[in-house]
Symmetry: C2
């Protein structure tokens, strides 16, 4: 799948209910399938979406409140039962390794696949994963316990080749890769051809920031400036501002102000408190401060196509 | 609720699926609501059955395989969020305390209510709970890791008073309680009346044995002789006998042979492997060796009324 697809497996705060799953998301970006948080019941939500567990190689846990990770040990155990052999990488706060390994040990259920823990304890943004196509950085957040958001950035790809123009210019196909990489190359006559004359700039790389759970954090926009999609928690509406501050969460208004200050293209709200019945109220509150607001709902998908950049499709 | 009611919250082995919950049961006996095992998703199953979490004061965990306890930390956390103040008692293998407290500690989520752990490590049956109405004993089982079943026994109640006969015999109501307790008492003339002449024996106390997970265990019938209801795992059918032995589980045939040897009244089968589609096959296999066989299914209730003893109602 080209572009960026975000599947909301669960987007509610606190305890799971029959019609409200705790937090878990699946991000499909640059060929990777990243699992972000893993509340109780995530493995069932993955099955309902017909996601092959083997495709998930990296799991990111924001913090050690149960609604963000109580489903992790079950998912890891099921991967073992399914005969997984591929390595699995888990990124999360210091302590996550002890929690998972203690349970595997007491159940005499060691995984047959390599399980790597990348424990986080820094209070500044750090690079935690990188390959040729994508990089992932932490976004230190402000919550009751140590918490990170995560910033996923696709890397800029090759320039786009105008194949007909390159052939007209007498350039051998053997040079096409170099052209796309931005090099000037010789044509059949031995003349050097400017790569810009037969290629166009690469598409703008897509990016996604996950920020949950957090109080309003004025330092956040600097870290996520100009990204494509921001998921920002909005546990409360402004009417519950006092409760929001005490519990170190955000209102829909605050999420929208962060989106506005960051210059992101699209904002997705989620992590709603169970006290609210009409989620549309969150969108209405946020729309007063930012104009591209979407609502997470359990099972909903958001898709942003590379290059068009102007529209996010909600499925 | 008088009598015995067993609610199957989940009865499948291994990983939770959309239509198959891992093990958890709720036993309503002598005014207690006992939770037995607590696989992932149990708290949602309890909500769907509209069970008030505050009514559960004792939780029994058979062993530390995930399909029997991964839902426990979520349930405990939710009890905290709901503002519980009543104590909670958890009975389970050594290690359960460390698993739960580690997660509460790392989430800075200590419970506001007293949480008592009763860790088990003995290989013989021991009494683990008793009050005026009921007693609970362990049933050491034979599985890949340390595992206990649990035997719940209502205590024998008072004798049943024939009030009219007692009045005819000239006995003052002040003596009725003593009569029901089996004492001979004087009538209005000062003559001693035999309690047996105006009372009937107490009803047979109801009892329930939970046995999962276990290989066929020939020493089990001695411990559960003559009980009312036996839940015995039947992960496999006899056709998969080899797999059954390797994984230390039981077949439906073996469960039935245990029921027959124990002289129990009713057998409930459960903990089915995900490989089977038609659960009725389990009942058919067991019926060849024992004639009162019921099938556990997620959400199903079984009710045995005190005194009648001859019929179990399936709801």
């Amino acid at each position: 799948m080209k572009g960026l697809t975000l599947t909301i497996l669960g987007c509610h705060s606190a305890s799971p209910r029959a019609d409200a799953r705790p937090t878990a998301q699946l991000l499909d970006l640059s060929g990777h399938l990243f699992l972000i948080d893993c509340g109780e019941g995530t493995q069932v939500a993955l099955r309902q979406k017909k996601i092959k567990f083997a495709r998930i190689k990296h799991i990111f846990i924001s913090h050690l409140h149960g609604d963000h990770y109580f489903g992790l040990i079950g998912l890891v155990s099921t991967m073992r039962l399914l005969g997984r052999e591929e390595p699995l990488h888990i990124y999360g706060p210091k302590g996550i390794k002890e929690i998972i390994t203690l349970q595997l040990k007491l159940g005499k259920s060691w995984t047959n696949f390599p399980l790597f823990f990348h424990e986080l304890d820094q209070d500044v943004s750090v690079l935690i994963f990188e390959d040729d196509l994508v990089m992932v950085e932490t976004l230190p957040l402000d919550h009751r316990i140590y918490t990170n958001g995560f910033l996923f950035k696709a890397k800029r790809g090759d320039r786009l080749l105008d194949r007909a123009a390159a052939e007209m210019a007498g350039i051998s196909p053997a040079y096409f890769k170099k052209l796309k990489q931005g090099h000037n190359v010789p044509n059949a006559n031995g003349d050097l051809v400017d790569h810009q004359s037969v290629t166009e700039p690469a598409k703008t790389p897509l990016s996604y920031a996950y920020c949950s759970d957090t109080a309003y954090l004025s330092s956040l926009p600097e870290l996520i400036s100009g990204i494509s999609v921001l998921y920002h928690e909005s546990t409360f509406l402004t009417a519950q501002q006092g409760l929001c501050e005490r519990t170190k969460h955000s209102t829909a208004q605050q999420a929208a102000l962060i989106a506005e200050a960051s210059g992101v293209r699209f904002l997705i709200l989620g992590h709603y408190s169970g006290r609210y019945v009409h989620l549309e109220e969150f969108r209405e509150e946020a729309l007063r401060y930012f104009d591209q607001v979407f609502l997470a709902e359990d099972g909903r998908c958001f898709r942003l196509l590379e290059g068009d950049g102007q529209q996010m499709v909600q499925i």
